[in-house]
Symmetry: none
Subunit: 202 residues, 2 copies
């Protein structure tokens, strides 16, 4: 079981709803994430956060998620918002006014060490995961690019600069440029930015 539960919302009514649904009348209540980080709480606490509040700093989210299990609850859920919080380290994301059953469900799931993620978001997460996989010799890219060019492209995909790529592959920066020039031609683009867009389907 979790050491303690913290409810974070500016709305007393919402906190009441959560507490009633989950049987947590004695849960700690705070106004915002900043307060959580300022005062600190027992490590590994379970934190329910109402996303209605504005001005949530990314740093606050990351810090909170590092120390506690954060369950993000939005009054207007969207996949984008959910992905954002999950990437910051939240272990669950759902509608703030979910039914008691669903809240109970999520609560038990995360309490058991799992992560509660809606179907749509999970699919997006996996889709991105797939698109991030390194280019394999089996992909259509390989047909056009040489082995070395592929290596350079892979590094470029990570946002690396020519100098970094050179160090990475243990070749001179000039050679990196040579490979890139070749790749640009094969793909009909003018620079690394357009290449990246072409690769990632932007």
């Amino acid at each position: 079981m979790s050491d303690s539960v913290i409810l974070i919302t500016a709305s007393p009514a919402l906190a009441d709803y959560w507490a009633d649904s989950l049987g947590l009348q004695d849960a700690v209540r705070l106004a915002d994430l900043a307060a959580l980080n300022r005062h600190g709480v027992a490590a590994d606490s379970l934190v329910l956060v109402d996303l209605a509040q504005q001005h949530v700093e990314e740093q606050d989210i990351v810090q909170a998620c590092r120390h506690c299990r954060v369950l993000a609850l939005s009054s207007q859920p969207s996949d984008a918002e959910g992905l954002y919080w999950l990437q910051c380290g939240a272990v669950g994301y759902a509608h703030a006014m979910s039914t008691g059953d669903l809240l109970q469900q999520m609560f038990e799931t995360v309490a058991a060490g799992g992560t509660w993620v809606g179907r749509s978001i999970m699919q997006q997460l996996c889709a991105r995961f797939g698109s991030r996989l390194p280019v394999t010799p089996a992909s259509p890219l390989a047909a056009k690019l040489s082995e070395r060019e592929l290596a350079v492209v892979e590094a470029l995909r990570q946002g690396k600069a020519n100098k970094e790529i050179a160090r990475l592959l243990d070749i001179s920066e000039r050679t990196v440029k040579a490979h890139l020039t070749s790749v640009f031609q094969k793909f009909g683009v003018e620079d690394r930015l357009q290449l990246l867009l072409k690769l990632t389907g932007g």
Copy 2:
């Protein structure tokens, strides 16, 4: 909830264990995924698959996951295996001999439309993003940008150069640079390439 439940395992004992733990004495039992795809089942069925069996074709997995909610259960769980199945579309992954409580937990989670993912796997899934967060108007980060900065970012998204952006917005190239410098700071990146990666999520 689910239209029907299918248990896929070559081990009758394991099928019994699942059925007992979840109170599904009347669940359909099949030997392997191929059988599921061959005969077909009610769409959106909940499928528990024992991963002990060898030679599971990726195509079979993907096809099964497209039509049903697949809960992958391994006798020797590993993050790599879990990630593989989740990528294929599974909605859950855990130890095949998990405690009845945990099985029940997972079962209810996926029945509720969620996804059961262990902590370790979730972290890896998120780690694949690195520090790159997809930013949409729904994300808190986008709210940090001014109207003008958003316009510049939008153009950058198209792979446009500073000079083009300047013409597009009818401002000087210097102003474009000013806006970009501001955006870089707000997003914690060093150049347009990293910004793009952060925006598109790779």
